[in-house]
């Protein structure tokens, strides 16, 4: 692949990643309650990180730097759900109430049950 094409791809991925970062931040800021804000945080943790890391990896080709970048992505993606789950579970047991649509199940009956750790 020619160099300029690689640059275009990498630049596009970086800008998309940055854009999704801002969107996720906006979601984190705008959504009405704690549980919905988690979804906003989820955008910045997944697609934003994936796009930026792959955009950077395209620039250095196959090297030790790329391997390290992919390791960073691994260390970002694997603990992120665990942290989110720990947070949401803690919030649930602490009695933070979600705003729910009318046709939804309620959270109350699940609160008393213990759930296993990830």
């Amino acid at each position: 692949m020619p160099d300029w094409l690689l640059d275009v791809f990498s630049g596009a991925l970086l800008l998309i990643g940055g854009g999704f970062g801002v969107i996720g931040g906006l979601g984190l800021f705008r959504f009405p309650d704690f549980y919905t804000r988690l979804h906003g945080a989820g955008i910045t943790d997944t697609l934003c990180a994936i796009c930026i890391v792959f955009g950077l990896a395209l620039q250095s080709g196959l090297s030790l730097l790329t391997i390290k970048l992919l390791l960073i992505l691994l260390f970002l993606l694997f603990p992120a759900p665990t942290a989110t789950h720990a947070l949401s579970r803690a919030a649930m047991f602490d009695g933070v109430e979600p705003e729910l649509a009318e046709d939804s199940e309620s959270l109350v009956e699940h609160r008393r049950e213990s759930s296993s750790n990830t």
């Binding site: 999704f20 969107i23 996720g24 906006l26 979601g27 705008r30 959504f31 009405p32 309650d33 549980y35 919905t36 988690l38 979804h39 906003g40 989820g42 955008i43 997944t46 697609l47 994936i50 030790l64 391997i67 390290k68 390791l71 993606l77 694997f78 992120a80 759900p81 665990t82 989110t84 789950h85 949401s88 579970r89 649930m92 979600p98 705003e99 729910l100 649509a101 046709d103 939804s104 199940e105 309620s106 959270l107 699940h110 049950e113 213990s114 759930s115 296993s116 990830t118």
Partner: protein, 161 residues
Amino acid sequence: MRDTFFLSLLLAALWLAISGVYKPVILMLGGASLLLVVWLSLRMKIVGEEHNPTVFSWRLPLFWLWALVQIIQSNLHVARLVFSPQKISPRIVTVPVPMKSSLGKVVFGNTCTLTPGTVTIGLNREKLVAHALDRQSARALVSGQLAAKIVWLEGSTEKTQ
């Protein structure tokens, strides 16, 4: 024993990838730290199911690819909702957990959280409680598509055990 060996192999590969300096003294230090970590994890009794080399089957890259597509799709959907927050209808959904191994269950919960729009709140032996941003986000979870994919992924480890 096989699990311990595989863990050492994995740690050695990680060390070689991160270090980047390959001189005898440094390599020896790396070997020493590897032995220390393996000894510590044996002492903590945490070497087990997830260090089974058959976890890394040919199905795993395919699953990651599929998960990546799911993540991109749900990201686009949630991004659209960010710009029209009045359209969200947050809901709690409960789905059965069909996986047999605890590793499969953890993968289920984590994949559910990784796709924006659904967050795992509770996970136990029988069911998974998730918070979803709206009906469409919950669809992959409620229809059992995600669960079926992970049961398929799990199938690769069962034959050898």
